[in-house]
Symmetry: C2
Subunit: 285 residues, 2 copies
């Protein structure tokens, strides 16, 4: 479906991600519309030429004409939108999202959604430390992962279309995971790392530390500059999976502390060699 | 003393750091000698032209002629060297080091050292993930901190000379701290970060995670590739200070976990805003 550029794409929520989607998709010639909160975002995108039309209202014509609707909203806002406004969607429309957690969203949406509209969930694993459509870029997805998380309610066609969307957007790796696999993986690789960074950044308020900071500390706290509204919601939406990852970390950190207390050099060195070996797997290829 | 280029500098231990010192100091025209384990390191440095002479033995002439001796050895090897070989040092010589921990080294060396030789301790806060003189570079110190840690046994002249050494080497910030302040600071900024990185890298061995890794996880685990021999020794030499930092981290991480369990969004957002504000201090100027 996607490659048919006569199809109309609607992006709900024109921020950093929604804007970046629009920039890339417009290059292929699709008709791109948006429904978003701020008129200034629409004006900016019209000025840059990467949308065709937009509204801050629930414009029935824009919504009713869209063949593919991409929701780039906070998780609870997305669910509320579907609850209140799904009657406006075109029959046969495909909808997808950019939400960073899946189990708590996908099953809920698929349960409440009209039967003539299909929701195929996806997580574009890309971001920046800045937000807003003015910071959107068509280069954001190069080298990044696009993960489609189908359930048994999804058709093969919708899964293929969504994977094709990921490839069109320029993602380097487009794969599928179950919502459960996705949430465990993201709990570990993304959410746990943010928990660690903000803890490290706030656990010692001694003054003047910054004068002596080297690259290690800067690397570990780059993501400690964090959007509190979004991440607190993502953490809570993935509460159980994240708590499991936090506990794994706490247990291992406690083991290391105990090795140090006992001056158990052999165990410390074994853990460090394990770390070094495993890190090699994660080098950029 | 340092700016007098007729003075002879001996580097004991010609690895990554010792080699980088030699490369920079040679440019100023100093006579540079080395005592190091491997003949291949000496041959390499002679070939590159950044030392004048070297030996794998305790060459009495080389050691006895040196006005400034820089020990670039593992902490316990440095202490053993002084215990066994200090009689070979020239009367009036100044010695310094590169050790990453201070309290457990500085007082011990100053206690056992001959009274006609002065030890002024320093920590060049620079490193790479690779080791060996072949990886040494004269660019390693740009943007980095050089910390001199004097005690009341040090003369003003030795402190000035050591700070001048830091500036000659090209460090961007040359400062002094007490050994105690140094160890607390390094326990937090460097050692705790390494503890966190190796814990994150080893706490979840699930397969195929690397396929989905983004920049956050890579940033937090860059230093998880670690020299187990050196770091286990550094951790133990700074045990009490590091354990205090690990406990600060554990307590704060536990607070965050408790907020998540209770779904206390307000406290999570407050912690995230604190994190964001504090991280701004640590941006590169």
């Amino acid at each position: 479906m996607i490659v048919d550029i006569s199809k109309k794409i609607l992006i709900v929520g024109l921020g950093l991600l929604g804007g970046s989607y629009a920039r890339v998709l417009k290059r292929f010639g699709f008709h791109i519309s948006t429904i978003t909160k701020e008129q200034s975002s629409i004006d900016y995108a019209l000025g840059e030429g990467f949308i065709d039309e937009g509204s801050t209202e629930l414009d029935e014509k824009i919504i009713g004409e869209a063949d593919l609707v991409i929701f780039a909203l906070y998780p609870h806002v997305f669910v509320e939108w579907i609850e209140k406004n799904q009657s406006l969607l075109k029959s046969g429309a495909l909808i997808t999202d950019v939400t960073g957690v899946k189990c708590s969203i996908v099953y809920k949406i698929q349960e409440i959604l009209r039967h003539d509209v299909e929701f195929i969930a996806a997580h574009p694993m890309a971001g920046r430390e800045v937000s807003g459509v003015e910071n959107s870029t068509d280069k954001m997805f190069v080298g990044a992962n696009f993960i489609v998380t189908p359930t048994d309610k999804n058709t093969k066609e919708a899964i293929s279309t969504c994977m094709e969307l990921g490839r069109l957007l320029g993602f380097s790796n487009v794969t599928t995971l179950s919502p459960e696999e996705h949430d465990e993986m993201i709990g570990f690789l993304s959410q746990l790392t943010h928990c660690i960074a903000i803890t490290l950044m706030t656990c010692n308020d001694k003054e003047n530390m910054e004068k002596f900071t080297g690259d290690s500390f800067r690397d570990l706290t780059r993501i400690a500059r964090i959007n509190d509204l979004m991440w607190s919601e993502l953490f809570i939406e993935n509460k159980e999976a994240l708590l499991r990852q936090m506990n794994l970390f706490i247990d291992k950190f406690g083991e290391l502390k105990s090795m140090l207390e006992k001056e158990d050099v052999d165990s410390m060195r074994k853990m460090m060699r394990h770390s070094t070996e495993r890190r090699a797997l994660f080098d950029k290829k």
